[in-house]
Symmetry: C2
Subunit: 273 residues, 2 copies
Amino acid sequence: MKDNETVLITSSQNAQIKFARSLDKKKDRYFHNAFRAEGVRHIKEGLDLNWKLLSLFVSPEVQERPHVKEIIQIARAQGARISVVSSRLLETITNRENAQNAVGIFVQKWAELDDFMDENTIVALERPKDPGNLGTIMRTIDATNCQALILLEESCDPYSTEAIRAAMGSSFAVKIAKANITDFLNWRTANGFSLYGTHVKSTKLHSETKFAAKSILLMGNEQSGIDDELANSCDGLVKLPMAGRADSLNLAIATGICLYEIWRQSGFQGRKS
Amino acid sequence: MKDNETVLITSSQNAQIKFARSLDKKKDRYFHNAFRAEGVRHIKEGLDLNWKLLSLFVSPEVQERPHVKEIIQIARAQGARISVVSSRLLETITNRENAQNAVGIFVQKWAELDDFMDENTIVALERPKDPGNLGTIMRTIDATNCQALILLEESCDPYSTEAIRAAMGSSFAVKIAKANITDFLNWRTANGFSLYGTHVKSTKLHSETKFAAKSILLMGNEQSGIDDELANSCDGLVKLPMAGRADSLNLAIATGICLYEIWRQSGFQGRKS
């Protein structure tokens, strides 16, 4: 039997099942340089955008459907392992009731800062903690004609299951680089990006700020906001107006509102719908 | 011993502990008409806004701190039960490691549609499914000078632990009514509100729409969007521009961007910072 023929797996102790399940843990994702994506549509996104698929699991109920046959065919051409597993085993992999009918394991991709030289808008997040926020931000980055995300210092993992789920397929469309603050600040100066941080102490609203053509939107950590060194290095500090009892917005909401404002100022360049 | 003197609880089988823990379940929240709020700051929010506190749990480590003594004093004056419980028992209640140092159990409040007659901006959500989204939306409603939320048809519970956590204290600042679609449409016509739904098929952008002084922003379900009857009844359908591979935004993000646009058009009326 060739490696990439479809095999039927029935045991939850099968090594492939254990491998797929282990990717819930950051250390296993790191060790294997891999992550899990769920659902035929999202797996198709990854394949369309040339992400390397290692392994594909589909349930017997859907394996003959045209769009499932299509991803099986692409997966086979890539040399990925293809397994048919029961819905119950898919639930075991995803640790979720009513699991998706397909699970794919992809190789992680990490960009370098220099890959972003030609971007117009970049989002930089300092030490984001919540993977749900991170995934939601990636979905919004993709939706606003951006492709570039920089994670500054120790951040939650964009390849965690929660982040991937929240990104709803946009993980495959956003390039992610990691950097420390010093390297990041040197890079953006050398490459002529203007840096805009959101800061509660700013007196200038997001909607009063004229964002430069090459902009980096910098958002601080959920609890502590932007580091002082970073704030002092910004070309502009902006704030979102606030009313009521709330003293801050959710990080993904604040990022989304700023991104739409930056995009609005460009006349929604690259808009598809 | 009087009912509202501070008692020390050491057993996880104590009836008060069991009661507090049971509020993770919707049927128990419904039966007791109660919900749980975590953290001294959020409990203080509830007390400041005159929500009825039934029971307060604090850890011994913090009970002498000034802001904790303050909420104990208000709780006592309200006739709430006050219990000192170990951090470990607080973790049992909240099912969370590194639990907050205080947990409060409050009585739920539900508004009627007629309570919203004098509002300027109201948010209506049709069948929202994700309590994290719902809580995040409440936080954003509070931040944008609104106070009114209508849940249409069968919706997830704004008093669930996940929603309360995501709302970050704003649950206490937002009035919530439930309605079916027919009653809702009749009420808004009778009370002169213009209804704006977000819809992928709209050709008009949010930023090109002039929102009326008395507006209801209507957002559809995460999966299926707005019901056809509702869409046909709208005074305006708006859409958010989209680029990239993403075909939609997260519900809380889309709501936040629309709310900030509506609020921008009012000159950020009621802005505090």
